[in-house]
Amino acid sequence: MLEIQNLHATVGGTEILKGLTLSVPAGQVHAIMGPNGAGKSTLSYVLTGREGYEVTDGTVTLDGEDLLALEPDQRAAKGVFLSFQYPIEIPGVPGLTFLRTALNAQKKARGEDEVSAPEFLKRAREVAKSLKIDFDMLKRPLNVGFSGGEKKRMEIFQMAMLSPRFLILDETDSGLDIDALKVVADGVNALRSPDRSMLIITHYQRLLDYIKPDQVHVLAAGRIAASGGPELAHQLEAEGYDKYAA
């Protein structure tokens, strides 16, 4: 699925990723953990093509296709989805309008038929219900005035509606109380499938109690410093990141 080879990236002239190599096979969930400033969010922006995040060396491929050559919207159409650490407010644009426009743009890019309004609404109602989202909230301007937890739930809602192939969750647990965390985790787990992979970026191990990863990697000083099974997350929780400090 996703292959990252020797990735170097700079932000504002400073090198943040320094030769990161990572492979996430189809159907697997990998967690990236690491101290603040290790480059976790940079990795998520580099993978999604944000302006200002410059790749200076290395390759990233999704099912063999060069991801770095594509615009952010093209990557989205290929199935790359980022659940933002801080979801953005979009004034004046109802959530449903935003999402339907996005979904149809992706479908168009893939040469598929657009989704009809009734079909879209039917699915939106189902997904909203499963995530315990009040349907009326979807008619309000996206994320405007939403609480931190509501915003995160909206991210998972969008993720479920767009059915991406490669999911990046950036600090999805931050700002969630335990009940909301369970709802979000259930939503994410429901999306696990043999042809879908996930990269879960998190500072704490808490989320991984609910979304069980196949592998855990430690990102420190712009590189993968260690990899292991789920037990690595517990070890980090107990020992901290000190021994990986640059």
């Binding site: 615009e71 919207d73 979009i90 004046g92 644009v93 426009t101």
Partner: protein, 489 residues
């Protein structure tokens, strides 16, 4: 390489103005320049009665004594008023005009603009779709007005101004210049002297006009100005909704458009006036050419509980200078102003409204959304005032500015004059920049950069678009998106 890129961008930008074509049609001009003879020429061409000619000549004399206003936040070289044509008309046979007699070239032009002149086509449209009566003004003359018979059946008069001057002289003499006096301002005065055509609407007492009325203005001829004059009267308890649209070919020189629009609403009458203004904005890179849109629009809520609502979507013109206003004279009357002003390239807009509260218990509401991109400048200028007799006047004003890029400017200049202690005026203003965060977020969900800008801007102007008749709201939404093409990245 830079030069190649520039050319490519230029061509792209030109494509964005889809109404930039010129119709090759035989045109008759007045002699170039402006003297009292020009005024006589126009009046004679229109076969006007003596009183009209005298009115014009008086206006011309006053205009000579006036100075061009310089207070607006717009900059341009001095206009040479002698270097323009004040009358340009497609050559045609004299006589009554039905659609069949209209030059097919002209009909083709309006078809290109997507304006349904042929009533059959309108009638064949989607079932249950509202009908629109259209008055089409090409350069200085009105070429065709549709649905006149249907409107006449309920007593509504909808005709070219030149026809109204001949056939409805009493109404014209009673109301013309009663809202915007001849010497109100420099451009209104000029218009009073040389106005060519425009629309006239009269809705009799208690009549709800059965369809939307609209006028399409098209400047085609080179080096000519357009000076149309529109007068709408809603008699007691009447209702009318009116929409105007404007386009012009792309030319290197600047062309002047100085219109006057007067609205009169009597007791319990309501007028909704919408504008979708898309005059050629000039070359987006060099700033060359484009229309100078210097327009005076004013409504008089002359009767008690009268209501006037202005909605404008301003995307075109090199320079826009206009302040659709309401004089709230009648007790309990109300005025509304909803505006979207988009500037890109080198466009300059200084626009807003005046709400003048004279009657008791009068209300007004102003929602203005300015969007600036490129190297443009966008100013909101508004006045809200009450005199000492206007007890319990209420106003709510909201001005929001959106900046796209780093080389544009937005200004807000609100004037508030409350001379009555019972007045209740609220003013809110915001200025925001279209953020990289928002753009990236939308792109990450699958929208191209252009589509992301369009969606975000659409969200910003939504409150105003909702005020437009539905079909036009869709048009306006597209227009706003097209106007901002190429404004990011």
């Amino acid at each position: 390489m830079a030069a190649v890129k520039k050319t490519v961008d230029q061509v792209k930008a030109l494509e964005a103005y889809e109404h930039g074509f010129v119709t090759d049609i035989e045109t008759e001009f007045a002699p170039k320049g402006l003297t009292s003879d020009t005024v006589r020429y126009i009046s004679a061409k229109k076969d006007e009665p003596e009183w009209m000619l005298q009115w014009r000549l008086e206006a011309f004399e006053r205009w000579l004594a006036l100075d061009e206003p310089e207070w607006a936040n717009v900059h341009y070289p001095k206009i040479d008023f002698q270097d323009a044509y004040y009358y340009a008309a497609p050559k045609e046979k004299v006589g009554p005009k039905s659609l069949d007699e209209v030059d097919p070239q002209l009909l083709e032009t309006y078809k290109k603009l997507g304006i349904p002149l042929r009533e059959q086509e309108v009638l064949l449209g989607v079932q249950g779709a509202p009908k629109y009566a259209v008055d089409a003004v090409f350069d200085s003359v009105s070429v065709v007005t549709t649905f006149k018979k249907e409107l006449a059946a309920v007593g509504v008069i909808f005709c070219p101004m030149s026809e109204a001057i001949r056939d409805h002289a009493d109404l014209v003499r009673q109301y013309m210049g009663s809202v915007v006096p001849v010497s109100d301002n420099y451009y209104a005065c000029l218009n009073s002297a040389v106005f060519s055509d425009g629309s006239f609407v009269y809705v009799p007492p208690g009549v709800r006009c059965p369809m939307e009325l609209s006028t399409y203005f098209r400047i085609n001829a080179a080096q000519s100005g357009q000076f149309e004059r529109t007068l709408i009267i809603a008699d007691k308890g009447a209702y009318v909704s009116y929409l105007e649209g404007c386009t012009a070919p792309m030319r290197d020189e600047n062309q002047l458009h100085a219109a006057v629009v007067e609205l009169v609403a009597l007791d319990d009458a309501e007028i909704k006036y919408s504008t979708v203004q898309n005059w050629f904005p000039g070359d987006p890179v060099t700033g060359k050419g484009g229309i100078y849109n210097f327009v005076t629009k004013r409504a008089d809520c002359r009767g008690d509980r009268a209501k006037v609502s202005w909605t404008q979507v301003e995307t075109g013109s090199a320079i826009t200078w206009k302040y659709p206003s309401c004089i709230l004279r009648g007790d309990g009357s109300s005025g509304e102003f909803y505006s979207i002003a988009v500037t890109n390239g080198h466009q300059q807009a200084d626009t807003g409204t005046k709400m003048i509260h004279l009657g008791r218990d009068t209300k007004s509401r102003i929602i203005a959304k300015g969007i600036s991109a490129g190297a443009s400048s966008n100013t909101y200028r508004g006045l809200v005032s009450t005199n000492h007799k206007a007890a319990n006047a209420r106003n709510f004003t909201q001005c929001d500015s959106l900046l796209i890029g780093k080389t544009c400017a937005a200004h807000t200049v609100p004037y508030i004059e409350a001379r009555n202690a019972t007045a209740h005026f609220e003013h809110e203003a915001t200025t925001t920049r279209l953020s990289e965060d928002q753009l990236f977020y939308a792109q990450q969900r699958g929208l191209s950069k252009e589509d992301a800008v369009a969606l975000l801007v659409n969200g910003f102007v939504r409150e105003v678009l909702q005020e437009l008749p539905m079909e036009f709201a869709v048009e306006a939404q597209k227009l706003v998106a097209i106007s901002l093409e190429g404004s990011v990245g």
